[in-house]
């Protein structure tokens, strides 16, 4: 097996719907996942994340470009790709008239996993997702979060070499989300590769070794969470309420963002003391904190939207 779990080159997808204008869902996406990595795709609704996941998992044919999974072309040889992948579909639900235990076991057996291994993996997945106590109840009786956990358990139990998870923790409580994170970390430690989409930026940051920010069918930024934060001018922000009068002087310390009378200075740790001294000189309160991934995301995507509109 190649060290690259997934390689996508210039992937484009245009949806044609009768009576509606064509929609370019992907406009030249290129990315690479190395074996054992956990990668997140971030983007607004409709950015193209799910389209990419569906193409990479053989569920959708791209308009152009190539995607290879462990060296196999997903368009030309889907039958060679499918045994190596497993997908948690967005808003997927388990069979309502099966219990989580039955559903996971049946799915593993349908994938060709032997009885004993399947039984062991079912128990492991139920434990990891924290749904042992509801494992023998029909899924129709479970809460939304429990149903979602059953879906994730079904897929992680496969231990497929490449896992695609489309918003896997949607509707889950914080404990359950952390259960999913731990499971995904365990799987990548075993050598599996994970590509997920999420709108929870704390999740993306906690879980992913690299992130891709997608907007309008294109990748805007790629890198670690810290590298992405750097792209907005620094990893720290100084917040100065009523600091509008200092804007000119503050401009030399980093990137300025104004919100009403409040000034945000995005900068690096080396300039913090100088900014604080300036604020104290004018008897203004100032607080220092890290730039969050959410702030970086909003900046990067907002900039892209402004450019597109411009």
């Amino acid at each position: 097996m190649t060290e690259e779990a997934l390689r996508a080159v210039d992937v484009r997808k245009t949806y044609h719907t009768r009576g509606a204008p064509a929609v370019d869902a992907l406009r030249g996406v290129s990315l690479t996942l190395r074996k054992g990595e956990r990668i997140s795709l971030l983007g607004r609704n409709g950015a193209g994340k799910t389209t990419f996941l569906r193409i990479a998992s053989t569920l959708l044919v791209p308009t152009s470009g190539t995607v290879e999974v462990f060296g196999h072309d997903v368009v030309g040889h889907p039958e060679q790709v499918r045994p190596m992948v497993a997908v948690v579909p967005q808003e997927g639900k388990p069979f309502y008239h099966l219990t989580p235990r039955e559903q996971i076991y049946a799915y593993l057996r349908a994938r060709g996993i032997d009885r004993e291994t399947a039984k062991a993996r079912v128990e492991e997945a139920l434990d990891q997702m924290g749904i042992q106590e509801v494992a023998d109840r029909l899924s129709i009786t479970l809460s939304g979060g429990q149903k979602q956990r059953a879906m994730v358990a079904t897929v992680i139990a496969t231990e497929a070499p490449l896992l695609f998870l489309d918003e896997p923790t949607i509707g889950m409580d914080p404990f359950a989300r952390r259960g999913v994170w731990d499971s995904l970390r365990r799987l990548t430690n075993k050598g599996c590769t994970v590509l997920l989409t999420t709108h929870y930026l704390d999740e993306a940051e906690a879980l992913s070794q690299r992130l891709y920010v997608v907007e309008g069918g294109r990748i805007l930024v790629e890198g670690t969470a810290d590298a992405i934060k750097e792209q907005v001018g620094g990893t720290l922000k100084v917040v100065i309420p009523n600091g509008a009068a200092l804007k000119e002087e503050l401009a030399s310390f980093g990137k300025l963002v104004s919100d009403g009378g409040t000034v945000y200075v995005i900068t690096g740790p080396e300039r913090i003391n100088e900014i604080m001294e300036l604020a104290m000189r004018d008897r203004l309160a100032a607080t220092v904190g890290p730039v969050t991934l959410e702030e970086a995301f909003l900046q990067i995507v907002g900039r892209s939207i402004d450019m597109d509109e411009g």
Binding site: T58, E79, R82, A86, V87, K93, A106, A110
Partner: protein, 251 residues
């Protein structure tokens, strides 16, 4: 290799689907209510026609089973998105389609067994007639399940799909001579035997009734009925497999 069939996971998916369906025992029971009501009406009006009605009820029931494939495949795809779970896996699309179709057939077999017992009581079937009954019903299942699976893939909303199931059931189960003998139709419209025997449900009914000695078919009518049912069932099943493979991924 491109045209070879792969059956990975079919047995398990068949069992899964059967189990899922058996949980909906009420749907299985109520699926035979119309047929049961018709049997009561005929018993009251003209009991001599009961064996024909029971055969019609069996053919109609099996056609309905195929239409349940329509609803199940659409429900799994639109509402649960479980098709994505299975299509992005080693299980082949043909296993998915046939596993589901056979699973539903198995779950809905008990009412057929009851109808067969009634038929045996009313009109004992010979070995040949029983064989013809089984073959003809399998042909109807293949035709209807494939048609149902095909239609299930065409729409993105369950509400759009519901009327098609009802339309097909009436078109294939009520309009052609399924619940009434072919001879009733040909007395008034002598030419009608050709279109009637080209429709799989009425050709199946005519074949079963003829082999069971309940109606007479000429050698030509046997040939048309048998040929059309066999060809339509086989072609539709092959098309269903082709379509399952084609729609395992969107274009």
């Amino acid at each position: 290799m491109a045209y070879s069939l792969r059956w990975t996971g079919m047995r398990i998916f068949l069992a899964t689907e059967t189990r899922v369906q058996l949980h909906e025992w009420l749907a299985i029971a109520t699926g035979s209510l119309v047929q049961a009501a018709l049997l009561v009406f005929v018993w009251v009006l003209d009991p001599t026609l009961l064996p024909l009605t029971v055969i019609g009820a069996m053919v109609y029931s099996v056609f309905l089973i195929g239409q349940r494939v329509l609803n199940e495949a659409a429900y799994i795809r639109i509402d649960h998105k479980l098709n994505e779970l299975y299509h992005a896996s080693p299980m082949s699309p043909e296993s998915y389609f046939l596993g589901m179709s056979l699973g539903i057939l198995i779950a809905y077999t008990p009412p057929l067994v009851v109808l067969f017992a009634i038929l045996e009581f009313l009109h004992p079937m010979s070995f040949a007639a029983t064989g013809m009954l089984v073959l003809a019903l399998l042909g109807i299942w293949a035709f209807s399940a494939s048609l149902g699976y095909y239609i299930s893939t065409l729409f993105k909303d369950m509400k759009t799909i519901w009327p098609y199931s009802s339309l097909l059931t009436n078109l294939f189960g009520i309009v052609p001579p399924v619940f009434f003998p072919l001879s009733v139709l040909t007395v008034r419209f002598p030419w009608a035997w050709v279109p009637a025997l080209l429709v799989p449900t009425s050709s199946a009914t005519a074949l079963i009734e003829a082999v069971a000695g309940l109606q007479t078919l000429s050698p030509t009518e046997y040939l048309v009925a048998g040929g059309s049912l066999a060809i339509e069932a086989a072609l539709m099943l092959l098309f269903g497999i082709y379509w399952a493979r084609r729609t395992a991924r969107e274009v």
